[in-house]
């Protein structure tokens, strides 16, 4: 698709489309009742709440665009395919940001008008939030693994232990925070904020999340390792921006998934401390995408002079 070849054009289109949805879609009745506000106030609050997305999405699309340009320049080299795979992962993350936001606002609006659709909207939003990062992390993991193997950099034991420890803590806390919303006496009950039985939650949400975080953390570590140990002092200087950027993007995305999954979705904007936390994480994510773009630009410069 031509749109995928022009990330900044795609960014403008999806951003305009999303903001049109924010302004034009009818106000959420449950949000109006919960905060005791008028539809105009609702739209104003929602608009202001999503304004930071303009910058965050721009950073994501810009970062992806620059990395793809670099991958294209070195496409005939040995590591060209690996950078192309990394760029594909970043593409899924960049396009995933507006995609999840657009799907979410449409599903929530439908659910607000057809109450029987509410559970479907929540379930769909939850699965979309697992699927897109999982695909992205799979690409990033494959790219980072191939890069490190190509220059014979091996994951050291202390690094592996650190990842395993982080994953164990993440996993245990995730299970604690999530499963306390469930009635553990009734395995098949869907009477919970996730609208699925606990066994389905475990098999199709918890396990994929843990797997996704594992390959995400591993990819982040391998990219960092590659950017610090690969030969070439000048090459490494440029690559470290890309490495740090990718790490920031992966870690912030895992944090976002974490907060959005342990705090059940309501189907409308929640004006609470979690929203502030989400903004902080998204700012780190945007900085990550920006660092990634800076790194890709520096690497591209090496190939152009």
């Amino acid at each position: 698709m031509k749109l995928f070849k022009r990330p900044l054009l795609a960014y403008v289109i999806v951003t305009v489309f999303y903001f049109a949805l924010v302004i034009l879609l009818p106000a959420n009745h449950r949000a109006l009742a919960a905060y005791n506000i008028s539809p105009l106030q609702y739209h104003t609050i929602l608009f202001l709440a999503v304004v930071p997305y303009i910058g965050i999405w721009f950073a994501a699309f810009y970062g992806f665009g620059k990395l793809r340009e670099y991958a294209k320049i070195i496409s005939r080299s040995a590591e060209g395919e690996d950078f192309h795979t990394l760029a594909n992962g970043i593409k899924w993350l960049a396009y995933g940001l507006p995609a999840t936001a657009i799907i979410s606002i449409i599903l929530n609006t439908i659910a607000d008008h057809y109450h029987r659709f509410h559970s479907t909207a929540i379930i769909s939003n939850n699965y979309i939030n697992i699927l897109i990062p999982l695909i992205a992390f799979t690409y990033l993991s494959r790219g980072s693994r191939n890069l490190t193997e190509r220059v014979k950099i091996r994951l050291d034991f202390s690094g592996a232990k650190l990842i395993m420890a982080a994953l164990a803590i993440l996993g245990v806390l995730y299970c604690y925070f999530t499963f306390r919303h469930f009635d553990l006496q009734s395995v098949g009950s869907t009477n919970n904020p996730y609208f699925i039985p606990i066994w389905l939650m475990l098999l199709t949400v918890a396990i994929p999340y843990l797997y996704s975080w594992f390959i995400g953390l591993l990819a982040a570590y391998e990219i960092l390792l590659y950017s610090r140990q690969v030969q070439g002092v000048i090459y490494r200087q440029a690559l470290q921006f890309l490495g740090l950027g990718t790490v920031a993007v992966i870690v912030s995305l895992i944090s976002l998934q974490y907060t959005s999954s342990i705090v059940p979705r309501t189907g409308f904007i929640s004006l609470n401390s979690i929203l502030i936390l989400n903004y902080l994480i998204r700012i780190i994510e945007a900085i990550g995408f920006w660092l990634l773009a800076v790194g890709a630009k520096k690497l591209k410069k090496i190939e152009e002079v």
């Binding site: 070195i74 220059v151 690969v230 070439g232 002092v233 000048i234 490494r236 690497l299 090496i302 002079v305």
Partner: protein, 87 residues
């Protein structure tokens, strides 16, 4: 058995690898083809001074770290001195 004396191009590449890592091959090939109008494997000691000048210009566009630029070009300059063969 006579000692193996690697071609000049390989020696330039080996030095460049220390600074540009996986990008070294492409970088040197570009400098030689664009500025010396030769195939990379055909460079001779006579070409080396001009090549180093071009490399200095190119690298200063990539990094502002003058110490690295000096170190890199000094390493390349050493290749202009004929190497003593071990007896």
């Amino acid at each position: 058995m006579p000692a193996y004396d690697p071609p000049l191009y390989d020696r330039v590449l080996r030095v460049t690898h220390v600074y540009l890592g996986p990008a070294a091959d492409r970088f040197i090939a570009r400098q030689v083809q664009n500025h010396l109008d030769k195939r990379p494997e055909d460079i001779s000691v006579d070409d080396l001074k001009m090549l180093i000048d071009w490399i200095r210009v190119a690298v200063s566009l990539i990094t502002e770290d003058s110490d690295i630029i000096e170190e890199y070009t000094a390493q390349l300059m050493r290749l202009t001195v004929p190497q003593k063969r071990p007896k």
